[in-house]
Each structure stands twice: as structure tokens, then as C-alpha cells.
């Protein structure tokens, strides 16, 4: 400690202040963290929660339109005339459509999520948003100013949620009132887009490119941001508003379009009175403290959390130099085939597409021997060490993913080859747990657990999961138990292995009795191993297995923006990592507090 720090500490003590914040203060701060919405609250919600994005943006639309009145008043009488018509409206109905998409990608695929809603906005009552999907009512969401309450009803799930409106939420709603943020709009410049034709109407538009015109807080960095407003030159009323942005460093663009405006219409107050069907359940998610707070509570849990970060699953070979296999041709398959443009917007579409592609691949067993010969000729695999074989397997898997994995008719030789070389590594060292993990990853890369069918009972189960995959995890389980008997403290990787086994025993092998026994073992190990965070779900799993039912509980979390593209990696074990770029984004659930999830 230098003189400056000593003087500082002594000054604090002279004032009766403990230089290290006392525990009681830290406890109060933790309570404050629990009750405080995180940083950039409105922006974060605009970008991350589709419903909130629409609700907040609805107010923005009004504000911007009114703002144009003042902007226009100084330079262009057309805008003044337009907005003179709408500035006193305190109600509005509009249709909203939003699209989140990262594509089309260079490989021709585009993953997109689409949403359509009708928004009823009232300065007096609040917001009511009704969303439909595929023509059917999906949800109704209410921000009820007079009742100080927000209500969300999800019809397909038959769930509802009531949440009191916090004072700052009410304040935020009021702050987003058009008249309050007009001044903000005035500070920003726009450019004229001129006249054009839209849906048969002559329209005139402007564009703003500064996101700071739209929120009280400084906007987070965007790689691109634009807001466009179009009016019908004949009626001088707004017909189209479009906001589109690409967050800094993100591949996913968000676009929302508002149209079908009805300004100043009388809104029936009953619209703002939620009617919750009697058979709907209240959504209690979030009340489970074990799930809400993942911060370690015991010394063993702290060690477990630290170990999870220090030794990620499948991370044992991260130090290896990977061979370049990008020029490697296998099974005579030409990878330079034209790429078709495909737009996929749901898990069903993604899985259906993958199933159709994979049905065109030859079975692994049919090409296994030929692949082995080619790999010996081209990579000399018979002479490679275990590490070199694993490195080749990782590299081959990456090549498979680079060729769009299960979306491609020509990628399979690389995933099959990865399986071949990691099988060779496993044969050389069958007791090496990390090598077995690599083999499981290689197999899962090109083998999904079941085909997709709306009616799950019609899905075809892949027998490799009930067979070889479960056997591999069972063998690891026996090894782990043996190591523990010799003093080994189980780690996150051990938990992943045994948890995978439990799921495979239940969902794939349907051996619920053994699944329950292994689950009990995990529960019993929890206090010393530190995986206490998972005990609640493990106990539920055990009960389910004892009743003869399967039960699924995951291991990793993905960012909310990961879907729907993330579905391409589904239908695999929970341990599955996929391409390295994806694996780096995965967050073990018990570390969710580290990212505020």
C-alpha cells in the first residue's frame, strides 16, 4: 500500500468509516441490484424484448411524428401541415410488424423471426398490444396506467402474468409521451427523402440517423441506425414509419414497421380491461429463488463456479494447433456447389430443412471404411498421436460447420471424418474422459436425436443415442466414481458428463429406474462437488423418473438474440457445443449471474 492509500484509509477511519465496505452495506447494495433495472434499461428492452420493443417504440413513433411538426415548422410547411393534424391526438391505433434477422448470410441462409401486432395507445389508459402468429391470437399485453399494473396473457401456453408497475416504469411511460420528448427530437437533424410511390400512394419522407433522438439515456453504439417516416401527400397523414438498427458488433438487424395508422380514434375503455380466461395459470417463473440468483452460496459452490470458468467443457484441447483441412477433399464430394437462398423463421422450418438434407447423406457405416483409408492417405492418421487425432477431429468439425453443417448436402464427409479420427483417439485411450467427450461431440455433430414431426410420437428416434452414446457416458460415469473414491473432487465437466447420462438414460434408453439412481447420485454429490444450484431441478428429475416419465433440464444458456438460428444445433445432447464460435457464447446456467441473465 503506498503513502496515498495509507493517508486515504486513515482519513476514512478518522471519520469513522471502514475502508472496506462492511458486510451490511454490501447486503443492502445487493438488494439494490436485485431491485434495479440494469443499465440502459429502455434501450436494452427495446433491443431484447420483442413486446417491450413494440410498446416503447409505439410511443416513439408518436413522438417523432409530433417532433416533425416542430422541425418542419421552421423549414417546410408540408410537415407542419401534416403534423398539425396529429399533434393533439392522444390516442392511436397502428399495425406493427417487426423482423429480426442476421441474413441473408454469405451461405444463402437467412434466419429470421417475424412478429405482427396491433397497438392501441392511449395517453389516458396506457397501452394494449395484441399479437397474432399464423393468424391465431398469440398474446395480449397491457400497460395499465390507471391500475398501476402490467398484464401479459399468452394464449397458446394458457398462462398469464400480472406485475405491478414500478414508479419508474410509470414515469418512463409518461416521459415517452410525445409532448415530453419533442424537445429531444428538435435537437436532431433529419434529411429529406423526397417523394416516391408506396402501395399506390404518393408519399413523402424524411430520415433520422441519430439514435439519441429516441431515448432519454445515451444510446448504445450502433453500427447502423435509421428511422424513416412517410406521409401520404394527399391526405397529409402518416402512412409508414420504419425503424431499423444494427447494434454494435451484432450480426442481427432489427426492423420494425408501423402502418395502418388511425389517429385520434375513440378507444373503448374496455380495451384496457384484461380478461383472463378462467383456466389460465399464473406464470410464477422468476419466483423460484434458486433459479433467480445463481451466485454461489457455499465454499464448494464457489470452487465449482471458479472451476467451470477455468476449465470449460471440451476445453482440454484448446491449446492444440489445428491442422488446416480446408483444402481436403473426402469421398470425392465437391463442396463448391451453388448456394441457394433459404429463409427460415421457426424451429419447425429449420429442422424440416435439416432432416431433408440429412436424408440425402449416405449412412456413416456405409462410408466409414473408405473414409478411414482416405484419411490415412491424406493425413496419415494411423501415425498420429491422441492429441493430433483430436486436433484433426476438431478441425474437421469446424470445416463441417463452415460448410453450414446439417443444412448442406456436401458437408457430411467432414463430420463423418471427425467421428472416425476421434474414434481412433478413443480406441487408443478409452479411459481418457476428455477424449470420450470429443468422440461424443463428433458423433452428435452429424447425428440428431430424432427427426422432426409436429406429432412427437411420429418422430424417428436415432438409435445411436440409446445405444453407443449412452454406453460412452455410462463408462465415463464408472470412471468418475472410481476417481472420486480415490479422492478426486468432481468438476463441472464431470457434472456435464453425468447429467448427459441421466438425460440419455431417460429420454433415449427409457431406463427410468437407472436414470433415477444416477440422478440421486448427482444430488448426493452436490454438497461436496458444489453443483448445488442444480439440486432443485435434479430433485424434480428424480421424481419424474421414479414415476416413469422423462424429464429434460439444460446445462447452458444462449443469448436471447441467438434464436431462431440457434435451433440448428438443437436435437442433440445438452452437452453439445457445436462450432467454436457458438461454444464461446454458451453460458453454464449456474453462472448466469455473471451476465445478469
Amino acid at each position: 500500500m503506498d503513502n496515498h492509500e495509507i493517508l486515504r484509509d486513515k482519513l476514512l477511519r478518522a471519520d469513522g468509516i471502514d475502508p472496506s465496505a462492511p458486510k451490511g452495506e454490501l447486503t443492502r447494495f445487493r438488494q439494490l441490484l436485485d431491485g434495479t433495472k440494469s443499465v440502459d434499461s429502455s434501450w436494452r428492452r427495446i433491443m431484447k424484448t420483442p413486446m417491450a420493443r413494440l410498446a416503447v417504440a409505439a410511443a416513439i413513433v408518436l413522438a417523432v411524428l409530433l417532433g416533425m411538426y416542430f422541425i418542419g415548422g421552421t423549414s417546410n410547411t408540408t410537415w407542419a401541415a401534416v403534423l398539425n393534424k396529429v399533434r393533439d391526438f392522444n390516442t392511436c391505433i397502428s399495425r406493427t410488424r417487426s423482423v429480426e434477422t442476421a441474413g441473408p448470410r454469405p451461405d444463402g441462409f437467412e434466419f429470421a423471426s417475424e412478429d405482427a401486432s396491433t397497438i392501441y395507445y392511449s395517453e389516458q389508459y396506457g397501452l394494449f398490444t395484441e399479437s397474432h402468429k399464423n393468424g391465431e391470437l398469440f398474446s395480449r399485453s397491457y400497460t395499465l396506467l390507471q391500475d398501476n399494473e402490467s398484464v401479459f396473457i399468452c394464449y397458446p401456453l394458457e398462462l398469464y402474468k400480472r406485475t405491478p408497475l414500478a414508479m419508474d416504469q410509470i414515469q418512463e411511460f409518461r416521459d415517452k409521451q410525445p409532448k415530453q420528448i419533442v424537445a429531444k427530437i428538435l435537437e436532431h437533424n433529419y434529411v429529406e427523402l423526397g417523394d416516391t410511390t408506396m402501395e399506390g400512394k404518393r408519399v413523402r419522407g424524411i430520415e433520422l440517423r441519430d439514435p439519441n433522438a429516441f431515448a432519454d439515456e445515451p444510446a448504445p453504439p450502433f453500427d447502423d441506425f435509421s428511422a424513416r417516416f412517410w406521409i401520404d401527400t394527399q391526405t397529409e397523414l402518416p402512412v409508414w414509419v420504419e425503424i431499423s438498427f444494427l447494434p454494435n458488433g451484432s450480426e442481427k438487424r432489427y426492423t420494425a414497421v408501423w402502418d395502418q395508422f388511425q389517429w385520434g380514434v375513440a378507444l373503448d375503455p374496455n380495451l384496457f380491461k384484461p380478461e383472463i380466461p378462467a383456466n389460465f395459470q399464473e406464470d410464477k417463473e422468476g419466483e423460484d429463488k434458486a433459479y433467480r440468483d445463481s451466485a454461489p452460496k457455499t465454499p464448494a459452490a464457489e470452487v465449482f463456479a471458479a472451476n467451470t470458468q477455468a476449465e470449460p467443457y471440451l476445453g482440454d484441447f484448446n491449446h492444440l494447433r489445428l491442422p488446416d483441412v480446408s483444402k481436403l477433399t473426402l469421398l470425392g464430394v465437391d463442396v463448391n456447389v451453388p448456394k441457394a437462398g433459404v429463409r427460415l423463421t421457426s424451429h419447425g422450418q429449420i429442422w424440416e430443412f435439416q432432416d431433408a438434407v440429412m436424408a440425402g447423406w449416405p449412412p456413416f457405416e456405409q462410408v466409414q471404411a473408405q473414409l478411414r483409408r482416405e484419411l490415412q492417405e491424406k493425413l496419415g492418421v494411423d501415425q498420429l498421436s491422441v492429441d493430433e487425432l483430436v486436433a484433426a477431429g476438431i478441425s474437421l468439425r469446424e470445416q463441417f460447420w463452415d460448410l453450414t453443417g446439417c443444412f448442406s448436402g456436401v458437408s457430411y464427409p467432414y463430420a463423418y471424418a471427425a467421428r472416425v479420427v476421434t474414434e481412433m483417439a478413443h480406441e487408443k485411450t478409452p479411459d481418457n474422459l476428455a477424449v470420450t467427450d470429443q468422440l461424443i461431440e463428433s458423433i452428435a455433430t452429424c447425428a440428431v436425436t430424432r427427426t422432426w414431426n409436429e406429432d412427437d410420437s411420429q418422430s424417428l428416434r436415432n438409435p445411436i443415442y440409446a445405444g453407443l452414446m449412452t454406453d460412452l457416458r455410462l463408462a465415463q460415469f464408472e470412471q468418475i466414481k472410481s476417481q472420486i473414491a480415490q479422492g478426486h473432487v468432481p468438476t463441472w465437466k464431470d457434472f456435464v458428463r453425468v447429467h448427459d447420462l441421466v438425460i440419455m438414460l431417460g429420454s433415449n434408453r427409457r431406463d427410468y429406474k437407472q436414470a433415477a439412481l444416477v440422478t440421486r447420485w448427482l444430488i448426493d454429490q452436490a454438497p461436496t462437488a458444489g453443483w448445488t444450484y442444480y439440486v432443485t431441478s435434479l430433485k424434480e428429475m428424480e421424481q419424474s423418473f421414479l414415476k416413469g416419465d422423462s424429464y429434460n433440464s439444460g446445462l447452458f444458456m444462449y443469448g436471447q438474440d441467438a434464436f431462431p438460428a440457434e435451433y440448428q444445433y438443437s436435437r442433440r445432447p445438452f452437452s453439445f457445443q457445436g462450432p467454436r464460435q457458438r461454444a464461446e457464447q454458451l453460458l453454464p446456467i449456474h453462472l448466469r449471474h455473471l451476465r445478469g441473465w
Binding site: 486515504r8 471519520d15 454490501l26
Partner: protein
Amino acid sequence: MSSEDQLQVLVGRCRRGERAAFEEIFRQFQPRLRYYIRRLDPGGNHVEDMLQDVWVKVVRRVGSLRDPKAFVAWLYTIARNEVYSKVQAKDPFVGLDDEHLELVTDNHEPVFGADEAARVHGALERLTPAHREILTLCFLEDLSPKQIAEILGIRAGTVRSRIYYAKQSLRKELEKEYG
């Protein structure tokens, strides 16, 4: 890694919403903020409220802090604004006579050692609010004149002269104790 670098990493983690990072920042700065706010609002009854409001703002707004290096100055600026909004006092630190005095460069700037801490603490109370605040910032944080200037809303040159004259005043106050 220097403590400055460590703080930048910590602030970066806060910007990503990491709870543990927020707690570490709180551990480091809560005692110093308490001391600072008490110096700005001596005898005030709002210190706890102000501290809480400062942290609420930090948690909510740290994502909008573009340069993690600016964190310390940013934090004290929030605290300072909080004091003036709560006590509804006007910023008393403008238009001071010493700001217009030329800095005497050939005189030695008084130095205060850790062994004088208790006396320094007592003497701070007897200084003008402007001198008390600037010295408190100097003693609590190793800030550059530019950073202090950002917090106080004055020019960096003024910071240098104000620190010089504040230290002179503090030294005189300490000497008085020896009659």
C-alpha cells in the same frame, strides 16, 4: 496489471452487467463516496439517501459510459450532482478569488503524510467548501487535474492553482494547532 487497468476491466464487466463486478466496484468506492459526500454536506442528514441514489444511477447508467477510463471522474460527478440536487444548494464553488491568482511555481507545495491523517481530517472541516472539496478529491483519488476539472466543471489550470492554495490553507490550519 496496474490498479488503473484492473479498474478498467472491472468497469467493462459492469457494462456487461456482471453482478460480481458491481459488487467489487461498490466495495472499493462506497467508503470513499461516503467520505466525499460528508465533506460536501457536513452535518447533513441525507448521506445514506444520497449514497443509495448514486449507486442506483451508477448501476443504471454505467452501460452508457463510453470510456471506462473516465469512470472515477464520472462517479464523483454523479455524487456531486446528487449532493446539490438533494440539499438544494447552489454550487458554492464558483468565482473564488484564488482562481484569479497566478500560481506561484517557485514555492513548495505542502505535502501531507499519513501520520497527520487525523489532524488533516479535522482541519478539512475548517476550510472553505471549495478548498475542502478539492483536497478531499485529491486525498481520496489519484486524479489528474483534467479529471478533477471535469468533476468540478472548471478549467484544469484553475484546478492546479486551487489545489495549491487549498494546501496552503490546510497547512496553516494545521500550524494553528501548535499555536
